[in-house]
Chain length 198, copies 2
């Protein structure tokens, strides 16, 4: 990896942590300069604007968090067990965020929903990926005979993600994992309720 790429990735990592913790408006280019130890020119050499840096930092944060989810999912074979692993992955993100500041999807969704159209579009696309992966796991679980045929996969996926993101919000607000534990215990119960009785 060339020196330019190393510097670029270092800037992305530091910027992702700053924007995810303080938000796009809460973190300034001076903060990015302080965190990276680079002059403004050294940053603009790699990213033409704060906007562009924020968009790429968001992608970096999502990729890093997704890798944590994938790691949990890969430990399981069956779709219904992967659904349970999905809950573990979000609990792990709540307990020890791969990118400081919590879940980049939640943070950027809430910050961008009023009038940051380019970021909002990027969050929508990333959220689509997460929602569809849960929906597909539910469908696969039905196909594998572990989940009841009548289950509405889309409804389960939306509820699943809403509840997990809301759980992360509560756990971060109170700095107390007990909130995430309550929420995930509820979700596990909900998954058990759609199991076929074999």
């Amino acid at each position: 990896m060339g020196k330019g790429k190393v510097t670029r990735d270092m800037i992305l990592g530091k910027a992702a942590a700053l924007f995810n913790s303080r938000g796009y408006f809460g973190a300034s280019m001076s903060d990015v300069m302080n965190a990276t130890g680079l002059e403004k020119g050294g940053i603009y050499n790699h990213f033409p604007s704060k906007d562009q840096l924020a968009l790429e930092a968001f992608d970096f944060a999502v990729q890093t968090s997704s890798a944590e989810v994938t790691r949990h999912l890969n430990m399981q074979e069956k779709a219904i067990d992967k659904l349970m692993a999905f809950i573990d992955a979000f609990t792990s993100v709540a307990a020890d965020p791969p990118i400081p500041g919590g879940c980049p999807l939640l943070n950027s969704a809430v910050e961008s929903d009023d009038g940051h159209p380019e970021m909002k579009l990027r969050v929508m696309k990333a959220m689509d990926v997460v929602l569809h992966s849960v929906e597909n796991l539910v469908k696969k679980g039905i196909h594998e005979g572990d989940i009841q045929q009548t289950t509405d996969a889309q409804l389960i996926a939306r509820t699943f993600i809403a509840t997990l993101e809301g759980g992360i919000m509560l756990t971060r607000l109170y700095s107390d994992l007990a909130y995430m534990d309550s929420v995930t215990s509820s979700l596990r119960h909900q998954i058990n309720a759609i199991r076929t009785s074999k």
Copy 2:
């Protein structure tokens, strides 16, 4: 109501909408001046700092949103029906926010969780009120014989609020009420699952 109080309330209403939509860092005092039509001195005459204005604007936003929830709850007599009305109230906040920008609890929780201790404390207190009111409704529902005795009221309350706030996040991200509809349909199902079979 004196002229001073009228001006003060007008500033609070405009500031609440700005901060709730764009966030504390996303909205500047110049934005507040533009929205209110007042000079900087006219605003600082009522609020000593942007910080103080943001804290009081948050309280104003929470009171306004709570009034909408209370209005829905007052339409019902029994605790279990009030739980269902709580869902309607959040759906109404998602569809037509009393304060532009969505739910002030969600927005301020996500923005303040990293390093705005005074705001975070205020959000925690406001969230406590909401969580306890749901928990008390579940306990009252048990007492009234409509909810199963073994129900964990605290767990239900945390799941309820996490899911509703996550649903508002999704619905605002996609500008599509279908997400809130999925989530609330799931919650209604969950409440029916803890009903006593009378």
